[in-house]
């Protein structure tokens, strides 16, 4: 594997199956799910709740194993029934409700990775951190605690905390959920900017279809449980993505197509959900 830190990050998922067995209740979360993500591709995963999006993320990140099938990262096996590579900086996760350490300041959070791994000396890490914060216009908040910042800014600091480690894959689990309309558009611009400056493979879970098409090179639509790939919609629009594409005909057609598929699955999941609770 070329250790030259040139970001590769090609992921290939081969008929992954995941069966949960809490207290003997046999739940097939994912069944024969297969798809590939090219190196440095911005992949979006959409689908009804409980369709295994997070199961996939946990398997790739190394938080949880899979029942059968294999997952490769640049040709190297990282997850299968027997083998499960431990989480490391190559596969960084940005959590849904944000996981900045509330007891550390913004700078302490950003440089946590390099310091703990010993890949950078303190002074070097501080300089790199400050440079990254300036680059995205967040200079001046180095010594603030996460709780003092808006959720939009916390989300951006968490993404920087991930990127400073130069990961091969960045996985985001509905990172912009709960932000209001304006904050979301701001986050999209931020993410496009950061992705453009140093592109790397993105594994982005979301329910917001505008976000999916605006950011994605490829939108993978999952079925309801047991989850597998229902449809893959490729979005070939130029980078860096600009807001005015949202009124283009191509954009609207893609959105209609994805909306159709997702809504169908959501209905199925809803009936199943209600029955379960009854």
């Amino acid at each position: 594997m070329a250790k030259g830190k040139t970001p590769q990050g090609a992921i290939s998922i081969k008929n992954v199956t995941k069966i949960y067995d809490p207290e003997g209740v046999h739940v097939v979360a994912m069944q024969d799910c297969s798809f590939d993500i090219a190196a440095r591709e911005f992949a979006i995963i959409v689908g009804p709740s409980g369709c295994g999006k997070t199961t996939l993320l946990n398997a790739i990140a190394g938080f949880d194993g899979i029942t059968s099938g294999e997952i490769f990262l640049d040709g190297e096996l990282i997850s299968s029934h027997q083998k499960q590579i431990k989480p490391n900086v190559d596969r960084m996760v940005v959590f849904q409700s944000g996981a900045l350490f509330p007891w550390k300041t913004v700078m302490e959070n950003v440089i946590y990775g390099p310091i703990v791994q010993g890949t950078m000396k303190k002074t070097e890490a501080l300089a790199r951190g400050r440079q990254m914060l300036n680059q995205v216009g967040l200079a001046g908040i180095e010594d603030k605690y996460p709780e003092e910042l808006s959720s939009g800014i916390q989300r951006r600091v968490e993404i920087l905390r991930a990127l400073i480690n130069e990961p091969r894959v960045v996985m985001l689990d509905e990172p912009f959920r709960g932000l209001d309309a304006v904050a979301k558009t701001v986050m999209h611009e931020f993410l496009v900017g950061v992705y453009c400056t140093s592109p790397r493979t993105m594994f982005f879970i979301t329910h917001d279809l505008d976000e999916a098409i605006f950011l994605g090179d490829k939108v993978v639509i999952m079925t309801t449980r047991p989850a597998r790939v229902k449809k893959i919609v490729t979005v070939d629009m130029p980078w860096p993505r600009e807001h005015h594409i949202k009124t283009s005909k191509l954009y609207l057609d893609l959105k209609g197509e994805v909306l159709e598929a997702v809504h169908e699955e959501a209905k199925k999941a809803f009936q199943a959900g209600e029955r379960e609770l009854a």
């Binding site: 900086v89 996760v93 959590f95 996981a99 350490f101 007891w103 550390k104 990775g113 709780e147």
Partner: protein, 270 residues
């Protein structure tokens, strides 16, 4: 500081509080001093208590201006501090390790759970007999009271930490020791300080009982001695002294807590 006092003086709460306290004192004086009620007249009345507390030559030999008074306080405060710091160090340490390491928890928790319901004061007879000297026994009993409260709350603190912080730390390449120092300890701090508050309260309670029963110098002993020598004013003075010391110690813990958990303050201040 000045404007905080100013706003305090202006708002009605302050006056209601004062009236409440003054009413209580007047009622107390009426019941014990003025009226001639069967049981009540045995009790010391506020005026005599205050006179005793502030006099230069108190009948009981103990007032704000006598050396005895401060000696008693010193005895009790030293004992509480020793017991409290022991309970904190051992309690927090044990609680963190139990919360962090599954196997250690499996074996130690049931033992803790067996000993915990035992009221600390039931240890007194055994402690006095087994431990060398009464002083150690009193400190031991005070320690036991605080120890269990601290262990349990520290344990709850570790369990209260959201799983995502552990996952995030591992993702960022932390080794177990990093996770312990950067996630477990800070994450459990709010609960630990809850435990310390409770532990301080319970320690004072056990100390007083320990001093009364084991007949050693200190505020608890002085209260009982005051009773047996019919110096009831002294008993009430010492009760309020204990109250004030209890308040100061928990205020102290809160202050340390606020400083240590600066990020907490920002959450409350935001």
């Amino acid at each position: 500081m000045a404007n905080r006092l100013k706003t305090a003086l202006l708002n009605p709460q302050f006056y209601r509080a004062m009236t409440g306290i003054v009413l209580f004192l007047v009622l107390w004086q009426l019941l014990t001093g003025v009226l001639d009620l069967p049981r009540f007249k045995l009790l010391p009345n506020p005026i005599s208590v205050i006179k005793e507390w502030f006099s230069f030559e108190p009948l009981s030999g103990r007032s704000l201006f006598t050396q005895e008074y401060y000696l008693d306080i010193a005895y009790s405060v030293v004992r509480v501090l020793i017991a409290f710091s022991l309970a904190t160090v051992l309690g927090v340490g044990l609680g963190l390790i139990m919360g962090w390491n599954r196997i250690f928890y499996e074996f130690t928790f049931p033992i803790v759970e067996i000993l915990r319901p035992m009221p600390p004061l039931s240890w007194i007879p055994l402690a006095v007999l087994v431990l060398p000297g009464v002083e150690v026994a009193v400190v031991y009993v005070t320690f036991i009271a605080g120890f269990f409260a601290t262990v349990l709350n520290t344990l709850l603190g570790v369990y209260s930490i959201d799983k995502k912080y552990f996952l995030a730390a591992r993702c960022l390449g932390s080794k177990p020791r990093h996770i312990f120092r950067n996630v477990v300890v800070p994450g459990a701090l709010p609960f630990i300080f809850t435990g310390l508050q409770i532990s301080m309260g319970v320690s004072w309670m056990s100390l007083v009982a320990g001093e009364i029963i084991s007949g050693q110098r200190g505020l608890g002993y002085a209260i009982y001695e005051g009773y047996s020598m019919f110096q009831y004013n002294q008993v009430v003075c010492y009760m309020f002294t204990l109250g004030i010391l209890g308040f100061i110690s928990s205020a102290g813990i809160r202050a340390v807590g606020r400083k240590l958990m600066a990020w907490e303050a920002s959450r409350r201040g935001a």
